[in-house]
Symmetry: C2
Subunit: 345 residues, 2 copies
């Protein structure tokens, strides 16, 4: 059917091996033979058959992308964007990203993604919070993997991290400079290390400006120890504002929560941002279309995907690399929800 390496060899008057050598840029092959072969390949529109190549090399050319089911199926566009970033990067190296989801109550015995069961990937990217049993499984398998925006305390794995601390710090600092004095925090599960870091950024920014007095942090923080959602934001905003009407800004652990916070503030009837300013984190697409448009910390999602892919490629080619963490920096983007008069430009 399709042209094979054999056809090329015959037409070019050389052996199969030689063709393979130019295909893989290996060994010695005379410039003019090489040229000849390349021209024949081009003329006959030759594409190596991946399955044959894979069989011979014992590599799959695939990378797995695993994400918690809720993260892909809900409003959350974050991890789809990261995925897209990986896909873009993968195009250049002719490999494929196989996406699959795992359930919350994942059990490695029964729910193992099929590309792991069948060893159809050379490496795996784990996006966001994933079951720890899965991480352990991969660690035991000696299959290269990277965590994206997640980590396990005490263990050192390959990681792509967001600069959560600085993002949060700058956001809160911006609120302070806009003359906000009572800045609350609304968030979800502290179990997630990224949220912990964002909280730390929040706290340290307040400390820098000496806003923190006794009980400040406790009074103005609202966290439910579950997956973040709009409803956490809405509940949090309503409870905090009723209890402490002096609150004039809310920094949220992410955009999803922030959009809920905005709903809550609107229900109470306060003006955004004049009475209460809001800043989120992530810059997911709906943030820009929210009413009012959401100020937030932009996380470069495509870039994260690209970096994950690159790190993974390095790991695959060099399995004994020491585990490393790469940190992706973020930018504050001010929109309507925190656009105070004094700060407008």
């Amino acid at each position: 059917m399709a042209t094979t390496i054999k056809d090329i060899a015959k037409k070019a008057g050389v052996s199969i091996s030689t063709v393979s050598l130019v295909l893989n840029r290996k060994g010695y092959v005379a410039p003019k033979t090489k040229e000849k072969i390349l021209s024949v390949m081009n003329r006959m529109d030759y594409k190596p058959l991946h399955s044959a190549r894979k069989l011979a090399t014992q590599k799959t050319g695939n990378i797995g992308y695993i994400i918690w089911e809720g993260h892909f199926s809900e409003v959350e566009m974050f991890y789809s964007q990261v995925f897209l970033g990986m896909e873009y990067a993968a195009r250049k190296s002719d490999s494929y990203i196989l996406l699959t989801t795992v359930k919350e109550d994942f059990d490695p015995k029964n729910d193992l993604p099929r590309f792991l069961q069948y060893k159809d990937v050379d490496g795996v990217a784990l996006a966001g919070r994933v079951p720890h049993t899965l991480i352990e499984y991969l660690d035991n398998q000696e299959l290269p993997f990277v965590l994206i925006d997640y980590e396990l305390p005490g263990k050192s794995f390959n990681c792509i991290k967001i600069d959560n601390y600085n993002g949060a710090f700058r956001a809160v600092e911006n609120l302070v400079l806009a003359d906000k004095k009572y800045i609350a925090f609304v968030g979800g599960t502290f179990f997630h290390p990224s949220i912990k870091e964002r909280y730390r950024g929040y706290r340290e920014a307040l400390e820098k400006y000496n806003l923190v007095n006794d009980g400040y942090l406790k009074k103005y923080s609202y966290c439910e120890n579950i997956e973040t959602s709009r409803s956490i934001g809405e509940n949090g905003a309503i409870k905090l504002l009723n209890r402490h009407p002096e609150i004039d800004a809310i920094f949220c652990c992410n955009d999803t929560t922030a959009m809920g916070v905005i709903t809550g503030i609107q229900k109470i009837g306060k003006k955004i941002p004049q009475e209460v300013a809001v800043i989120g984190f992530d810059d997911i697409p709906p943030a820009e279309y929210n009413m009012p448009k959401l100020s937030t910390v932009r996380v470069p999602k495509l870039e994260i995907g690209k970096q994950a892919f690159m790190l993974l490629s390095e790991l695959i080619n060099n399995p004994n690399m020491a585990p490393q963490t790469r940190i992706i920096s973020v930018d504050l983007v001010i929109r309507e929800s925190s656009h105070s008069e004094g700060n407008k430009q």
Copy 2:
């Protein structure tokens, strides 16, 4: 390394061929040999190597999923959900879905997705509006493909269609029964056949109740011939309501537009749904979290993905099947944006 069919054969005291036969449920093999082999397989945790199998069978076991770049990277969660539906279905048959995006100005000569260049898929699903040149290319390649929520006028391809007409009809009928008299339509490109159908449903529902008088349709329709977006909705609502203040309901070509329409209505200062009711189409996840919650026509996205996968599988196993269209039915879901008093339950 991993156990191969050879190991199984040796341990079970049979030939490789016999093992292969039970693996593929083919030919004759004595019940007790079969049992023996299966037990050995189980004990040794044998998984056939996909690349070897693919090489031998000349099938890839992959299905491509192509989507316009803007549809995956923007707010639109619709096609990600359809993708997920395909992925779920694929799990059962041990195949993989390879997702890639194409640009608006796609050119088959240069931008062909790599899984098409390398013939790494047995079939392709095209999600939503995709470049016609791509459809033509696939048609020439004799590669099985299905269109999801799209069609080409005059051509009969394999299609998974949404019951757009009935969804729209029921939505508009519901508005009429809630005593709305001046029901507008806001939408995007008529170039998209689904939107055409939704408009037809709108029109015929109005006709059924004799609401359409001279100029009604022209007066109360706002369409920009570009990709749908929130801003089309916002602009449309503002223009229509300023020009025709009697409008008491707006049916939108999809949820994205509807959320824009809601923003527009809010800017003008009318109450939803008391003064102006809004119904969208699709039921994308943000619809439920919108303020007010958006009434809409629920399209079962996972089911669409599943049906696409199933149709594609049939096509792959039976290449001469006549092209067919499968229609997925939809449900009206009433939330706050059209929840008129008289209609509340």
